[in-house]
Amino acid sequence: MSAFQPAPSPFAPQGTAFAAPGCRCHVVVAEGRALVSSAAAGTALDCDGALAAIASSRSIVWEGAAADLFRERLDGMRAPIDGLDVDAGATLRLADTAGA
């Protein structure tokens, strides 16, 4: 050690676990991103499935007040489902773009 180098602080992190290249934060962040990615991808699939179910159910022959409500509710669900899909994607991007 050079005499001109500053002495290590007694409060600085010690050991490989706290050194930048070997810090577990890299592993933890990668795992976190994988978790979010998996949930977001699954949500996209679920949203597609829900929209397909709505499309096929909406066209059945059924009349009356409850039938009107049924279609109204199904139509009303499209926007929240689309929104859910978009929001899940945004969450994934948030996880992916965040860094040090």
């Binding site: 676990a17 949500t43 499935g49 829900a50 179910a53 709505i54 096929s56 859910l84 860094g99």
Partner: protein, 520 residues
């Protein structure tokens, strides 16, 4: 807070197999999509929890701990991600629930699994019946325990002692218990009941051989039927089952003084209406209230036993059935003009009995019963039957069997529950995502705060309203059939009153005379 009734429909015209498959596929797709989204909600919640755990797993990393952002370290915006995960979990749950609610609505409106439900119910009934037959004392003790448990729990919840909760607790077993008791009294051997459903009627026939003559000796068996005139409109023009039910309620409550329409009508009064068709012919609607229990009334309690008999002649001799037939004849109903009958409780049993036993005398096309145990009455196929029953009313379960499930026999079953504070009705359609789902149930008009007897007509009216709101094709077909009879202009509404007395004198009874009326 009041009460509401949720209806399920059984029988009536069924969907074609191809349509049934299409509807089931649609309902399954919605339900599965709902399940997946609800599971995804769990995934997001788990993600949120695991992100927190991972963050806590590296407490000394300056980046993840949030104290600094030194080069070479990585971090995620854990707080923002946590909020997002929480939000997505809530959205998935809400949308998933909504999809499942819509699937359930589709299933209920189209009776997509009625066969399975019917089989399950029949199985329960037969098992309970077998239990009662094989171990009557155990069955009695079990029933008493069940009723007592319901009484205690219900009363605690309600905050006051209310015996009606005992009925509620035994609702699922009532048909089986009655069937078992009927088998014991009727002498049906254990095991033989599986192939039949008329154990109660067999028992009623046996009991009536004793009770009918005894009651006849006490009350008298001479029936007097006379036409009376109401001062005000009680049974008004109708063109639907719902309107006819309301007229039935008005007549039923007016004759007992529960409402005051100032009509002057008294107990044991029925109404016969004639509707004039465009081609000059007529059709008829007979409105028959239930038991009034008055001393000289043909609609007393013992007559119920005779009406429930499996013996056609015994049913014909029941005072209430005789009175209705006589009134129909006095009104001039010919044998070739279509007739619809609507009755509550004993009135419904009379309607079923007349349809079964007077088929060659009147052209009875449609019978509507509310709270009437008529499952085993041999009503001919040409007569359509619309039955409305409430799960825990007991009276409708006295036949010990569920109604036949055929194209011409439709049963609307109502299940009661406390209404939410906002009283969800069809007009209270809530916006997306809000609970409760409209058409889940129909509110009961003027229902009490606490649990009450659900045999009152207002509960059957609510059940029918909910079934109608569902847009069930089977209900619509029955409604259309009924409206095809009760159609045209109302030409006349006539009221007939019956009284019993000793001997063969057909003059009005001298004791307990009817209230002043204008003779018709």
């Amino acid at each position: 807070m009041g009460w509401q009734v949720r209806a399920s429909v059984q029988g009536g015209r069924r969907l074609a197999p191809a349509d049934l498959e299409e509807y089931r596929a649609a309902a399954t797709a919605l339900d599965d999509a709902g399940d997946r989204l609800r599971a995804r909600s769990e995934t997001w919640t788990t993600t949120m929890i695991r992100l927190r755990a991972q963050r806590a797993d590296v407490p000394l990393c300056p980046a993840i701990s949030g104290h600094a952002s030194p080069a070479g370290h990585e971090m995620l915006p854990y707080d923002a991600l946590g909020s997002e995960c929480e939000r997505h979990a809530a959205s998935c749950e809400r949308v998933g629930e909504e999809l499942k609610a819509m699937a359930a609505l589709l299933v209920r409106a189209h009776q997509l699994y009625e066969e399975a439900e019917s089989n399950a119910r029949r199985t329960v009934t037969e098992l309970v019946q077998a239990g009662v037959q094989l171990k009557p004392s155990y069955a009695a003790a079990g029933t008493a325990a069940l009723a007592a448990g319901g009484l205690v729990v219900g009363s605690i919840k309600e905050g006051r002692l209310n015996p009606i909760h005992a009925l509620d607790a035994t609702a699922w077993a009532q048909e089986g218990l009655m069937s078992g008791a009927g088998a014991l009294v009727g002498g049906v051997a254990p095991g033989k009941g599986v192939a039949r459903t008329d154990e109660v009627n067999t028992a009623a026939g046996r009991i009536a051989t004793v009770s009918a003559p005894v009651h006849g000796a006490i009350q008298g068996s001479a029936l007097t039927v006379r036409e009376v005139t109401a001062r005000t409109d009680v049974v008004r023009a109708s063109s639907s089952v719902a309107e006819s039910l309301e007229n039935l309620r008005r007549l039923a409550e007016e004759r007992l003084g529960k409402i005051d329409l100032d009509s002057g009508l008294s107990y044991a009064t029925i109404a016969v209406q004639r509707y004039r068709q465009p081609d000059g012919s007529s059709s008829w609607l007979v409105t028959i209230p239930g038991t009034d229990g008055k001393a000289n009334s043909p609609f007393g309690w013992p007559q119920n036993v005779e009406l429930m008999s499996s013996d056609a002649e015994r049913r014909r001799q029941a005072d209430s059935a005789r009175m209705v037939v006589e009134a129909m004849e006095m009104a001039g109903i010919p044998d070739d003009e279509p007739v619809a009958l609507i009755g509550h409780s004993q009135g419904g049993i009379v309607a079923a009995a007349v349809a079964a036993d007077q088929a060659d005398r009147f052209d009875i096309r449609h019978v509507v019963t509310a709270g009437s145990p008529v499952a085993n009455h041999p009503i001919p196929d040409k007569t359509w039957v619309t039955s409305i029953e409430i799960d825990d009313e007991l009276v409708a379960a006295l036949d010990g069997a569920q109604n036949p499930v055929t194209d011409t026999w439709l049963t609307v079953r109502g299940t009661t529950s406390p209404a939410p504070a906002e009283a969800a009705g069809p007009s209270d359609a809530t916006p997306y995502g809000a609970a409760p789902t409209p058409y889940d149930a129909a509110p009961v008009a003027d229902s009490l705060e606490g649990k009450e007897i659900t045999h009152w007509l207002k509960y059957h009216q609510a059940a029918y309203r909910n079934a109608t709101d569902l847009g069930s094709p089977a209900v619509a077909a029955h409604e259309e059939h009924f409206a095809g009879i009760v159609t045209g202009d109302l030409a006349e509404t006539r009221y007939f009153e019956g009284r019993m007395q000793q001997g063969a004198d057909l003059a009005p009874a001298k004791t307990d005379p009817p209230r002043p009326l204008v003779p018709g």
